[in-house]
Point group: C2
Chain length 509, copies 2
């Protein structure tokens, strides 16, 4: 309904950049997490920091809930209005503002598409490293909000490692700069706090990122394993050997089936349990030797076949088949939920077995596609929403998978964020004291609690879980509290071979 | 004076671990920044998280100011009591609690010495990467508080990149876990906020760090340059070529003189302006080729002589001469102040010229020793405290050097922290609005404002500066606000050669 608040927003951005009619705003009712949605009160399209600040100032003063939105590709509901909020859509703020090639920095507006940045700096052999699967459509602002990852995070780190400074509009509309383009900024790391805060603490309107020189060379290998455990041990051994590949991706049999049924016809054997896609990069001198060592380690762990890509075309096919794995699930099932848990690398086999158990118990197939080098799993729970009760069962199965990750000493998210989707699991990872500190930080920025409220940090009422994940983590580490003497402490060296499938080393007195 | 509060502390830790007599506590009146000091009310030595929590709870309840202390090697006064505080000394909490070699993680107590950690995991070819010059005595807890750096941060990052989780005692004595041993922790990045917070937000009592496998091989080169500008251009060119050396260190003539007068006799030529110490590491296959390219780039920029270390002994000598440069200043001057500013790499020559001007104007010699690859300068202002007024002049000269760094688009600290020393410069870098957000964060953790108060974040009264560094940074970037059309935006490719000694590229409509 058009009211005085809509008038006020129109005053700031003009009629054309303020949508409020239900048929216009319906497209903004959810992001890539489609399980929940709500109609926004209005959607505004600012074109400058000043417009964003004016909008926020007005809304905050009038206590009208609002949230920011990028391309809406998020997978956890971070950009989903739960109903009645104003959506601040940053899509029109999509300019590359400045590039400093000599010092490897660029300043972008939040609506700039991730891959567009890389394309616009490619003529100087530069690129932007974080590469979520959605990189051809998702925005740097959205990546900032969700602390997005990607296949190459193993070597290069997630978004927070690539953002060095930002201009930020705070909930009340005031504007501050955080971080420092060169050198760590002194004072509290507000930039680090804002990255991954899912739009709950402020809106970045100018983002200074680190850009990288493209590696001179890369080599990509595809390795077929009869047994998941062997693939998993190979991953651990590569890392323990001191090799840091640009990426190590794994898919299980079900995921391979889906991919082979789609347009990306790699021709995976039908009877293998796992495929590894391993990429190493760096200066030309050296990459062949590194790849040779990787191949050796695959052989040590009984690889059935391992091939190194002989052309850019072959490499591109392998990568496409991996990056399109989520989409390919449509060949196997009308619906699926993608999960996003992290575990210690060495516990891969054990957790995959647990996931198999969950799959059996719920009578739902679960495909596994993941960033194996980081221990970042993406189990895909397949279901059919037309079958009554199956969607709910899938959600419950997904939730159990996440808890299995936490129980192994891991985390409920590697790169997709918490949003609405995983807010119930936050209390499984954190104690009530810990959540209270999170809430205090939120209140410190947004005293009225109206900016993307109900995302990321559960409100006190929502904490239904009592289990505290830290006990599990302590258990994983087996910290012993009674050392007789520092000098007598012995480090029991855990060789990778011994620990690949069981709890890891501890120190004993 | 022994009073009921001392009794209460003794109750927690026992008589032996609570010092309160002036002659006992005098040793804790300052840290490595000796310009200010104050007598602590007491110094307590807890041995467990629980004891730390009890101490904090008692002090917070009774509103008795306190601060934590590691080895006291900090260079900015972070561990200096300004008078009357209780010092919580973590020296006795120095155990290595657990190591997980397969997943490359270790859990340590805050009092564990940096180099001791590396030594205790060396038998598995592992090490802890951040390597401040004080690494043989400074503690991981102190590194955590100051977000310490080191020579190898160019490739490996500073402390915040190597700490993944921590158990933290908050100002009021409550205990929370922050971060996640595996995967980024969901929610706000409280761990990132705590690292570098200089003991003002809480005390880490268990720290989980990333450990690394030692690089298989390394090559180290020493390069003599007639002109600083050539050395500086070489550094930029190496990075722009896509090479990331483990370290690139630079010393100027005055620093070389000091070192050659001390026990580390490298034999630097008398008439060169700069020496570069360049180290590359990685798998054996490849390092020689990388070093060859580095040598080529040195030659391109008129290096007078460049040598690659032929033995571990030679490499060790070169490194010692660099690491002991601060100490060697004693050969040239009875006193010195070491500064710690960061600048964009490409503006090295220009800033060094400014520093020379400052040196001339104040009539004080300034030696330059720095992490050139990171643009992290350590100008050493030499003075004689016996000459009336010279100490004050040195402080003012140091402050001007920092401002020159900020004016070049940099920062007032790379790795030494703000502490007491640079608190006046915070208002030169940040606007009052930005400092207010910092104060709000502080208040969110420490509502009573009694934990290491007066460090890091200036209290409102202390902001005497009006200049706002961000304007300078915007100027450096030359961001233009009136692009006619995104499609027309042209990225003017800044080649390193052109920009090495002048302001960098911008985008224009």
């Amino acid at each position: 309904m058009r009211d005085s608040h809509i008038d006020a927003l129109v005053e700031i951005v003009g009629e054309r950049r303020c949508l409020w009619q239900p048929n216009q705003v319906r497209a903004y009712a959810c992001d890539g997490y489609t399980a929940e949605s709500g109609l926004p009160r209005a959607v505004v399209f600012p074109e400058s920091t000043d417009e964003v600040a004016q909008i926020c100032r007005y809304l905050y003063e009038h206590e009208i809930p609002y949230l920011p939105r990028g391309a809406g590709t998020g997978l956890s509901g971070g950009a989903t209005p739960t109903g009645g909020q104003v959506v601040i859509n940053l899509a029109r703020m999509n300019r590359l503002l400045a590039v400093d090639f000599a010092n490897l920095r660029a300043i972008v507006q939040p609506g700039l598409v991730n891959l567009t940045l890389t394309r616009r700096i490619a003529h100087e052999d530069c690129y932007y490293a974080p590469d979520p699967s959605s990189q051809s459509v998702c925005t740097i602002g959205g990546n900032f909000a969700e602390n997005a990852g990607g296949s190459h995070c193993l070597k290069y780190g997630v978004t927070t490692n690539h953002i060095v400074a930002a201009k930020v509009v705070l909930p009340d509309g005031s504007v501050i700069d955080v971080g420092a383009p060169f050198g760590d900024a002194p004072g509290y790391d507000l930039l680090g706090l804002l990255v991954g805060s899912e739009g709950t603490l402020g809106i970045a309107t100018e983002i200074t990122v680190r850009i990288l020189k493209k590696p001179q060379s890369l080599r990509t290998a595809l390795a077929y394993f009869d047994r998941v455990a062997d693939a998993s041990d190979t991953v651990t051994d590569i890392i323990v050997a001191g090799i840091i590949p640009a990426a190590i991706e794994m898919m299980d049999q079900l995921a391979m089936q889906a991919v082979d049924k789609s347009n990306y016809h790699v021709g995976y054997p039908n009877d293998i349990e796992a495929v590894l896609l391993i990429e190493v990069d760096g200066l030309t001198a050296g990459v062949d030797d590194v790849m040779e060592r990787v191949v050796e380690l695959c052989r040590k762990h009984h690889v059935r076949e391992v091939r190194v890509a002989q052309s850019d075309g072959e490499r591109a096919l392998w990568w496409s088949s991996r990056k399109m794995a989520f989409g390919a699930m449509g060949r196997l099932s009308p619906d699926y939920i993608v999960q996003d848990g992290v575990i210690p690398r060495t516990r891969l086999t054990e957790v995959l077995q647990k996931i198999e158990g969950i799959s059996r118990r719920y009578g739902l197939r679960i495909a596994n596609v993941f960033h194996a080098g980081d221990g970042n799993l993406h189990p895909l729970v397949l279901y059919d929403s037309r079958v009554p009760g199956e969607a709910e069962r899938a959600v419950r199965a997904g939730s159990e998978v996440l808890r299995a990750c936490v129980d192994a000493g891991g985390s409920i998210t590697g790169e997709h964020g918490v949003g609405i989707e995983k807010i119930g699991e936050m209390a499984y990872m954190f104690s009530e004291d810990e959540l209270q500190v999170q809430r205090a930080v939120k209140a410190c920025f947004d005293g009225k609690g109206i900016v993307n409220a109900g995302k990321l940090i559960p409100l006190p009422g929502r904490c239904v879980e009592v289990k505290h994940a830290r006990e599990i983590i302590d258990d994983h580490w087996q910290i012993l509290n009674s050392f007789p003497d520092q000098a007598e402490v012995q480090v029991r060296a855990a060789r990778a071979e011994k620990t690949a499938a069981k709890p890891t080393t501890s120190v004993q007195g």
